[in-house]
């Protein structure tokens, strides 16, 4: 039988319960609240013995805690930069390339974990019931463990970066800019976790041009306009998914007072933004292909994407409730476009490689 305990932020035990360090054999699972203003100040925990927790098999816990599904966000741009340079027969350094790939992946997982940890400590995961990996909320791991994993992975990522910086000192500029933007976003989140428009810009830069330019440089190849354009294209697509997710959560996040672009615009304008964002992406993709890749691929990919866009746009047009199941329908439809785009790009890159 579980027991309940409510602690306020001023309580000396508050942090140890949130971190999960209050006991060796029990977990404190924060109970979701619908009264969003109290989410971060007072928390009710359900205290559950670890032995009574329903824990899936290790592999599932691992996949969910480390959000393996989201690796796509980082692996796709790395794959694109790598294959484009291989197809162009650019003289890449295999050692720094391998190190950079591992380092970027480790840094990404570290940031992801840190984000889950912050959301837990700030109460975001008690307001948005589907945010994060839910590994902490389910009691599979403690927040302290997540923070520890994050720190270890970050240290490993730094270890990977050091030899690259020694070998290719120019990389430090991109790395420095990424760290500065990352720290700025983290600082903003720490001070005002409700403000997220700045975070969106940080995501665009870090998943987009900083990543592609930095990775290309870490491979020992000078950055060029193509790597910047590719980064902007990918960053734009990543933000499309972020906006989609924010749109699916428009009601709870607006109630909690989170300020992101979607909430700022409101339901109706946000629908238009999503449609506009996607149309711009399709055009951007066409222009990118016209400038740097096979024009025929740009044409065929655009035809496929435009054809598939109809159902997404129709769903957006028909959605009438910020509270119903249609939101998830829009999200799924938009996410399918995202996956289709990736599929087309991967196919295209393999085609170039086999030429």
């Amino acid at each position: 039988m579980s027991q309940l305990i409510t602690l306020s932020k001023s309580s000396p035990e508050f942090e140890s319960y949130l971190l999960g360090t209050f006991s060796q054999d029990k977990r404190a699972l924060p109970v979701q609240t619908l009264n969003v203003n109290s989410a971060s100040e007072t928390v009710t925990f359900r205290i559950v013995p670890i032995t009574s927790l329903q824990r899936p098999e290790f592999f599932t816990v691992f996949l969910q805690t480390f959000k393996v599904k989201s690796f796509l966000l980082i692996l796709v741009p790395l794959f694109l930069v790598l294959t484009i340079n291989l197809a162009d027969s650019a003289p890449l350094d295999p050692q720094t390339t391998v190190l950079a790939t591992i380092g970027v992946l480790l840094a990404f997982v570290s940031v992801n974990l840190r984000n889950d940890y912050m959301d837990h400590m700030k109460g975001v995961d008690r307001v948005l019931e589907k945010s994060g990996s839910r590994a902490i909320q389910n009691g599979w791991v403690t927040a302290a463990q997540v923070k520890f994993y994050s720190s270890v992975l970050l240290a490993l990522a730094i270890l990977c970066a050091i030899p690259i910086i020694i070998a290719l000192p120019d990389v430090i500029w991109v790395l420095g800019a990424s760290v500065a933007v990352g720290l700025w976003a983290q600082f903003k989140k720490q001070n005002s976790f409700k403000y997220r428009i700045g975070g969106e810009l940080a995501l665009f830069l870090m998943f987009g041009p900083f990543l592609t330019v930095g990775y290309q440089q870490a491979m020992g190849i000078l950055w060029d306009a193509e790597s910047v354009a590719l980064g902007c294209l990918w960053g734009w697509l990543v933000l499309f998914v972020v906006h989609l997710k924010n749109f699916a959560n428009i009601l709870p996040s607006a109630q909690a007072g989170f300020t992101n672009t979607i909430n700022w615009l409101g339901f109706d304008k946000a629908r238009r933004l999503l449609a506009f964002w996607w149309v711009i992406f399709v055009l951007f993709n066409l222009v990118y292909h016209g400038a740097y890749a096979g024009k025929y691929w740009g044409f065929y990919a655009s035809v496929v994407l435009i054809f598939l866009s109809f159902s997404f746009i129709a769903r957006l047009k028909n959605i009438s409730s910020p509270a119903g199941s249609e939101l998830q329908g829009v999200y799924r439809s938009g996410f399918k476009l995202f996956l289709t785009t990736i599929g087309l790009w991967v196919f295209e890159c393999l085609w170039y490689l086999l030429q």
């Binding site: 309940l4 409510t6 306020s8 109970v31 609240t33 619908l34 009264n35 109290s38 100040e41 007072t42 009710t44 019931e129 009601l251 709870p252 109630q255 009438s320 409730s321 910020p322 509270a323 119903g324 199941s325 249609e326 998830q328």
Partner: protein, 318 residues
């Protein structure tokens, strides 16, 4: 002193002017027959917190005005023909009059409360009214949505139903100018839980569960609204299964569509079990409330404790 809901109709002689006979008739019809549960809750709080008779009447009347205004609007939105066994106001007096009568009640609430002079109470009441209207709006927007989730409905019910329960237990403290943040957070959580439990129990009536009131069977479903128990049953079902479930016209058809009566009973037991954890949470917050009460107010705890029995299990406390 026992007071019926109809007695709560008038707080101030100005409330319903004599030169508006139709309005008075409409309100007489509306208020008569109401159980006045929320006003009773106010009276219970007031008696334990030593509210003056005038304050108690003001609060009781305020909550009944708001609740009845929401019913006037609700019946029109849902096109319900009956309210408390009688013809709904919009049908009897025209939709225009029903809307005006609802608006007038809300306006009287603000006039009477502002006359009382506690600006925090006025502000909180205005917030509750806006929550209620948001909830109405959102609920209407999910009519015809048979894939809505329980979590999404909970958010709507928190605005539409729980806001009034929260008001009932917070307003008496505010009227006494007791504003401790922790106290109000605890009351807010308790009100949310009471509202959810009441709504979920009310939704079960649709499936003839503990339906001593004789509420119409599958009424919500037939009017295109998947309520909380309906959403709980449909969780994890395929689109085809849900399509056939929502077409049910009788309970027998419904049982068949979801896989038999035994499966229905199993789901009901799981639903009750889930709500028992809400009751456990309510009891937990009730214990916390005790720490905020002044000497002589402890009886309030004993009186608030059985509310979950009444609201969810729909039985008189043992």
């Amino acid at each position: 002193m026992q007071r019926s809901v109809i007695d709560l109709k008038v707080y101030d002689p100005q409330d319903f002017p004599a030169y508006l006979p139709k309005l008075n008739k409409l309100y007489d019809d509306l208020f008569a027959g109401g159980k006045g549960f929320r006003a009773k809750l106010i009276r219970m709080m007031g008696a334990n917190l030593n509210l003056t008779a005038k304050e108690e009447l003001l609060l009781g009347q305020t909550i009944e005005f708001i609740h009845n205004a929401s019913l006037l609007h609700d019946d029109l939105i849902d096109r319900s023909h009956l309210r408390r066994g009688k013809t709904a106001a919009w049908l009897k007096y025209t939709p225009e009059y029903a809307v005006l009568a609802g608006d007038y009640l809300l306006a009287r609430v603000m006039v009477n409360l502002s006359g009382h002079g506690n600006i925090k109470l006025v502000q909180y009441t205005a917030e509750v009214i806006s929550d209620l209207l948001e909830g109405e709006w959102l609920q209407d927007s999910v009519v015809g949505d048979f894939f809505v989730t329980l979590e999404q409905l909970d958010r709507i019910h928190n605005l539409k139903t729980a806001s009034l329960f929260k008001w009932c237990i917070r307003a008496p403290f505010i009227a006494q100018e007791r504003y401790e943040e922790e106290l109000h957070r605890t009351l807010e959580e308790m009100g949310t839980l009471l509202g959810q439990l009441f709504q979920r129990s009310d939704d079960l009536l649709d499936y003839n569960i503990r339906n001593d009131e004789g509420k119409a069977i599958l009424g919500d479903l037939k009017s295109g609204y998947l309520n909380s128990f309906g959403a709980f049953i449909c969780q994890g079902k395929t689109r085809q299964e849900i399509d056939s479930i929502v077409k049910s016209k009788t309970l027998e058809e419904y049982y068949f569509a979801i896989g038999g009566k035994a499966h229905f009973d199993q789901k009901l037991a799981a639903f009750d079990e889930m709500n028992k954890s809400l009751i456990q949470m309510y009891d937990h917050h009730l214990a916390r409330l005790q720490t905020f009460l002044k000497p002589g107010e402890e009886k309030l705890i004993d009186q608030l404790r059985p509310l979950t029995e009444i609201l969810y299990w729909r039985r008189k406390p043992s």
